[in-house]
């Protein structure tokens, strides 16, 4: 290699093709599983395993290259750009579901109830009164167009109960993470570990309570099949929960890396990226709490 090489260009790699095989296997398995094909589930699990293997292998290689000092500040900046626009794409993904929520609440449900002089309402939806518990207008036994029977809940999730507690937990995890961030910038290693452990614990507690809340809601008949209310409720909180899970895993990896001494006071992009991701997940929840449970 010539000595003028100013930029870092990595050698060939097998991880991407492994990743493609993994994700494709995962999706093919999933689709078959949904269609009741016997081997669908196991193929899906195999695909998931390959994908996880790829992620650990690929990220592990990047971490080891980083700790071996192969990267320069330019590579570091490329990672920063990459991470931030990845998160922006996540924002837009959530925006689609929030958009569906706002559309249903502000437009389509009122229209079903005859708003804006909807002339079809008496024909199609006689007697329907619009409101955001729209699940209530179904009589038990109604089937959706997909042929799946709708579930009519007996009651909705109590905002003052687990949701409020969970919001508190997640906001506190944001606070503890900020303390960890401060400790890292000040170079207090033991404090970082303490605050980070607290963050992970709060995040895990959030997930635990979320599972409990789902259990209660499901028992009360509030399911994915409870009309647009259930659809938006579960899809928004579900995707959020998935992101919290990913965030907890990433924070755990960061904890491990801090114990290994990978970060310095001035150079800790791995931590910053994960911290920002966690703050983002936190804000999404705050939005969820307010728009799904309150307004």
């Amino acid at each position: 290699m010539s000595k003028e090489q100013a930029y870092y260009v990595p050698d060939g790699t097998y991880w991407p093709i492994i990743g493609s095989i993994g994700v494709a296997t995962l999706f093919v398995g999933f689709a078959n599983q949904m269609h009741g094909v016997e081997w669908g589930g196991s193929v899906m699990a195999l695909g998931f395993a390959i994908t996880v293997f790829m992620m650990f292998g690929w990220f592990g290689q990047v971490v080891s290259e980083s700790t071996n000092g192969i990267y320069n500040s330019q590579v570091d900046r490329s990672f920063r750009w990459g991470m931030s626009w990845f998160i922006f794409s996540e924002v837009m993904f959530f925006a689609a579901f929030f958009g569906a929520l706002f559309y249903a609440r502000q437009l389509s449900v009122p229209w079903l109830g005859g708003a804006d002089n909807n002339i079809y309402t008496p024909e199609l939806w006689n007697g329907f009164k619009a409101g955001w518990d729209t699940v209530a207008f179904t009589t038990p036994g109604t089937t959706l167009q997909s042929g799946i029977e709708m579930s009519v809940p007996t009651q909705l999730v109590n905002t003052w109960g687990l949701p409020a507690l969970n919001t508190l937990l997640l906001l506190l995890s944001g606070v503890t993470l900020t303390f960890a961030h401060h400790a890292l910038r000040a170079g207090h290693r033991n404090q970082i570990i303490g605050w980070l452990v607290a963050t992970i614990a709060l995040g895990s507690a959030f997930l635990g309570f979320q599972v409990m809340e789902y259990g209660h809601a499901y028992y009360d008949g509030l399911k994915l099949t409870s009309g647009i209310y259930g659809s938006t409720f579960y899809m928004l909180t579900g995707f959020h929960g998935f992101h919290v899970t990913v965030g907890v895993i990433m924070l755990t990896v960061i904890l491990y890396r801090i114990q290994k001494g990978h970060f310095t006071v001035d150079n800790h992009f791995g931590f910053e990226g994960v911290a920002w991701y966690w703050h983002f997940v936190d804000v999404v929840w705050l939005g969820l709490f307010i728009f799904v449970y309150w307004l």
Partner: protein
């Protein structure tokens, strides 16, 4: 009115989060400082907003979405 206030604070939180991202992209000492400050702002605002929402709910200024207006026609 309360709703408008809440939405404004949410936008402020998102803005702070966005500034944090800009700081992260910038990197270096200045970027790191900017990121940290923005994130502190966003955490503080979030906690304040949460407390305000709880208070507003307690005072009855806003209603939670957990009341079923029309009881379902259950035919058991």
């Amino acid at each position: 009115m309360t709703e408008v206030l809440i939405v404004i604070v949410i936008i402020a939180i998102l803005t702070a989060l966005g500034f944090g991202l800009v700081g992260m992209i910038k990197g270096g000492k200045a970027g790191s400082n900017r990121m940290f400050k923005s994130l502190v702002t966003r955490v503080t605002l979030s906690v304040v907003l949460f407390l305000f929402v709880m208070f507003a709910g307690y005072m009855g200024w806003i209603e939670p979405n957990n009341v079923m207006v029309d009881a379902p026609v259950v035919q058991k």
